[in-house]
């Protein structure tokens, strides 16, 4: 039998069959691998949180154990700063709102550190990260940033350890009322206690990090106010 492979009907049927076969194949692969992928994504998130409390470069098979040891407790806070849950880890960055705030309380050495997730926008796409504050809720103990698609060699340098380490020891809030976040990323460092030098040539990414820090840290004001040791 000789098919006319140039006829309209044949072409349409052929295209449909091809697409359906491929769709089933890809759906199968995606389902089959989903669990393993999710495990990797979770481990990646754990290692980012660990990086924010200064524990970097942990082997991937050690990440879960190290995380479980370092994180004393997870809290979900509402806008008033009250704890409404304890499964902070399962909250995805997209789901963070003023009324749904994850907080990780961690222990490194003798220090208790409070890790806040950060989400914001850079020049080309999303930014996210974690920042840890010491138990005075004032001093930054560490930070970790990631990005979706910032310019390689410029904005993408926010992932570098050198940049992230500049945040260590900076002051996050203006006073013990926690009403104003003073931690900044600026081109001109005027107050070295709270300002971090921006990345040259990456003004918009640096501004994105600045705004992300301001927005996300400010949301925890009520909790900090209630729990600070006077």
């Amino acid at each position: 039998m000789k098919l006319n492979t140039n006829s309209n009907v044949y072409t349409i049927v052929y295209a449909s069959v091809t697409v359906i076969v491929v769709a089933f194949l890809l759906a199968f692969v995606s389902l089959a691998l989903h669990e393993t992928q999710q495990k990797n994504i979770d481990n990646d998130k754990r290692s980012q949180i660990l990086a924010a409390i200064g524990q970097r470069g942990i082997a991937s098979d050690q990440v879960e154990a190290t995380f479980d040891k370092a994180v004393l407790c997870q809290l979900v806070l509402n806008a008033k700063g009250d704890s409404v849950g304890n499964d902070a880890f399962s909250i995805e960055n997209k789901a963070i709102t003023d009324d749904n705030l994850p907080l990780y309380i961690c222990q490194t050495g003798t220090d208790t550190l409070y890790v806040i997730p950060l989400t914001g926008r850079g020049l080309w796409g999303g930014l996210w990260g974690y920042i840890s504050l010491k138990s005075d809720f004032q001093t930054v103990a560490g930070a970790h940033f990631s990005h979706e698609s910032e310019t390689a060699g410029l904005g993408a340098r926010i992932v570098e350890e050198d940049f992230q380490n500049k945040f260590v020891g900076k002051k996050a809030f203006a006073d013990t009322d926690f009403s104003e976040v003073v931690l900044s990323v600026t081109k001109k460092v005027e107050n070295p206690a709270s300002d971090v030098d921006a990345i040259t040539g990456a003004t918009l990414t640096s501004n994105g990090v600045h705004n992300m820090l301001r927005d996300c840290i400010a949301r925890y004001q009520q909790y900090f106010k209630a729990h600070t040791i006077k």
Partner: protein, 202 residues
Amino acid sequence: MSKLFSKEQKEVFAGPLTLTTPVVAQVLGICAALAVTSQLKPAIVMGLSVTVITAFSNVIISLIRNTIPNRIRIIVQLVVVAALVTIVSEILKAYAYDVSTQLSVYVGLIITNCILMGRLEAFAMMNGPWESFLDGVGNGLGYAWILVVVGFVRELLGSGSLLGFEIVPSDWAFFHNDMMTMPAMHLSSWAASSGRIAPSTR
């Protein structure tokens, strides 16, 4: 064995490894080749991924070449390549997560790699599955070995390491120069800020 590899088939396989290497001689797939070679490991994974995809897409297209309607043949080729790339990308995400984040968009961009469409259109549409397989593996490996050589040099001279293991002590400055691993657009500002060239010549 002589039936398995005729003289022409050996040529089909060995040609792209030597005289008609996709990257160097045909100047195909350059963008991804430069982007993923700052370290050796992503270069190897990228090379292998491309090899697997060229080989299998060549075989699949060659098997169905007589049934493909001529008017939509490029689309059918694209669907086959895109499906294979998606599968490879999903597998990397599941079993080599750190490499897949390093390669980021470049795995997905294998779809638009000219080597693939070039081989499908020029070879697989006109030859049997076995020849097409050899042609795919040959072209993939021809691409891969250039990537591996470039990745080797860039990681050794740029970071003083190979596959992440430190080869050269970190106080030997020449082997830790960022020139090798840095994207080109950043070079001028780096050179100016570190005093290599006067800022006015930027």
